[in-house]
Symmetry: C2
Subunit: 143 residues, 2 copies
Amino acid sequence: MDWQKLLTQAGYRISKPRKQVMQLLESTQTPQTALAIYEKLKAQGERASLVSVYRTLELFASLGLISMVYEPEGSLGYLPASAGHHHYIVCQVCHRAVEFNGTEDLDGLVHQVESQTLFAVKDHLLQFFGVCPKCQNKSKESA
Amino acid sequence: MDWQKLLTQAGYRISKPRKQVMQLLESTQTPQTALAIYEKLKAQGERASLVSVYRTLELFASLGLISMVYEPEGSLGYLPASAGHHHYIVCQVCHRAVEFNGTEDLDGLVHQVESQTLFAVKDHLLQFFGVCPKCQNKSKESA
DNA sequence: TCGCCTATTGAAAAACTTTTACAATAAGGA
DNA sequence: TCCTTATTGTAAAAGTTTTTCAATAGGCGA
């Protein structure tokens, strides 16, 4: 669904900062931190405040409109959420994030962990880091 | 291997704060944040500074003596590292962390992700959250 | 379209976390 | 025990996230 409709239906307004943040996330190829979003908007001449960026990201995340991934250095980046699964592999070179579908294998792992630890699994944190095809080729060329 | 021997062999000294931090981590059942370690040491009358706690944790982690887990609220906790694998499931109620062995299933997932995304997988972030057996029983009793 | 209500914003400050600088201290080999 | 220097503690800085509150603007109803 359109994010603006979803926001409206949930009782939120379509404000300028919210439009700007979503537009920036949608136009970017890599996950962006709150500060990076703020600085890129500023560089574009927009004057959304950093506080609003934080608030907007929190709202969008709570509504499932955006996903969060850990960058290779540990900071938290945001990117538009797609419909289904939300597991990402992040390129350690160019930071590009790509979704992968690992539901089935993960289900197996969840069951194994539950029987092994007797915990009831409620949630998980799963993310891969690696080198994307483009960056693999670049390093081959320069070698 | 004994952590003190390992430190010495790597050219580091066995200082008071390092002893205190390791002792505290070894005596605790749950992962501890830097601040929590500092405050618990202070409560015990030890006078290690917060700066030293940070430095010590960084050193221990770089030597593989301790592992890091994300707490349910998102903060980073430390706990002594065991020999082999280092994946944890953390109880959302009592914060206890238990290791699990998911190497095989994870290998399968890694291969699937590589063929699906064409990335070369270098590293990963895997952690589960749930409710431990004890806390499951407690909630049953109170229900 | 206009006006009103109030959700939302921006600025400033506060709270919190982590890092840096540097003189004083103490670990451990000679 | 002495000497060298790794390590510490204090203080300050840097960085990040949250809170406060008056001003603004989104969007519904008239």
